[in-house]
Symmetry: C2
Subunit: 212 residues, 2 copies
DNA sequence: ATTCAAAAACCGACCAGGCGGTTTAATTAC
DNA sequence: GTAATTAAACCGCCTGGTCGGTTTTTGAAT
């Protein structure tokens, strides 16, 4: 008989949270089940009751992670009305005083390294990206409904914008001494505005030389 | 007696190459010394003669990797005379039929995941980035000497350009089904041109709303 | 209300396998 | 013959997963 129906959900959330924090601290390669047990305040057997294997736990933890991060992005974007502000609303990714990010970035890097080799993990990553793109696309199409971003190819543009976010994030997090937050924010805005403007100037940018 | 004096250099190169290929195939977390030995055509004892520990070998392998990649970037860039062409000359990073890249990307992802936690690794990454930035900066300054890229802040701009390369690369490699090579090349060119143009339009892009 | 049985939740000692590193034996070159 | 280099057997540690046992909770029976 289940003592309380929601106990399982509580325990699982507790374990996933512990797993994510432990992975972020030690890195996937070095983390042991014992570490996670200790962080979660459970024994090996107790943990095993909810997740059969290490891989099961990791998969669940990563999915939970991506869900949370995306939710935060969506919520933050919805705070803005202006399409361009929506597109630039993910600047919270470059907030060095946000403790969640110091868990999130290590996990993301670890995850991508695994995704290179493991198909299941790669699929999760791809789906996550698809969600981001859909979110950005909504903002971009809203702008086009207001006669802005003329000539912009929505699908290609949101892929690029999202990639720019990621590129800046990579440098901002891994080489913070040289890549300041101010640089990240300025770069993001310049790049995104520049990209969108590039569609307006010419329908085909390829092949032509650059003449100021 | 060493049959040939330069045997050590040959063996080390052979081992490093084997290590890089093995890491790329299996991922850092799963690779064993035995794997590398087998790939290198050496025994455990033989390998141990040249590299005392796994960590020694990995450090050396990663340094070798970054050296090679950078060398290739520098060589390729030097094939071009036009500053803008130089800035865009790293498009070989998005050549899916280049077998070296299918070794390079896995290694880079693995390396970054480790660099998050290990200071020594992070330092190698930062130095590598510094080298790229210096390379790009040379091209950009050459352009400014030709009265192009006016108003562009060289240091900030090359950081952004380099970050854009990385962001596009991340998506292009990890989600190739949706992020085609054509998209990568087009995105790169649009983003870089757009970024550089953004400096010319206004000296301060921040704070203002976007009005088409 | 109290007792009791059954099921769920939880614990932690234990085990087998795999790993990095070491040591010992064999082989080669001169 | 000897020194140097390679090969392979070996060792000890660590880890993930198992498994019997223990506690806790529930619901029914008295």
């Amino acid at each position: 008989m289940p003592p309380i129906p929601e106990l399982e959900a509580i325990r699982k959330a507790q374990i996933l949270d512990a797993a994510l924090r432990t992975i972020a601290e030690h890195g996937c390669a070095n983390v042991t089940m014992d570490d996670i047990c200790r962080t979660a305040g459970l024994s090996k057997g107790g943990l095993n009751h909810y997740y059969k294997s290490k891989n099961d736990l990791f998969m669940a933890a990563f999915q939970e992670f991506f869900k949370q991060i995306f939710q935060r992005g969506e919520d933050t974007m919805n705070l803005y009305d202006d399409p361009m502000e929506k597109l630039l609303s993910f600047s919270w990714l470059y907030n060095e005083s946000d403790p969640d990010l110091h868990i999130g970035y290590p996990i993301l890097f670890d995850f991508m390294a695994i995704a290179v080799h493991e198909h299941d993990y790669r699929k999760i990553f791809e789906d996550w990206i698809e969600n981001w793109l859909a979110l950005l696309k909504k903002a971009l199409l809203l702008g086009q409904k207001q006669d802005r971003f003329q000539g912009v190819d929505p699908d290609a543009a949101v892929m690029t914008i999202s990639a720019i976010y990621q590129g800046i994030a990579t440098r901002w997090y891994l080489a913070p001494d040289t890549h300041s937050t101010a640089w990240a924010l300025d770069s993001l805005e310049r790049s995104v505005r520049g990209l969108l403007a590039s569609y307006g100037e010419t329908s085909q940018v390829k092949g032509g030389g650059y003449h100021k």
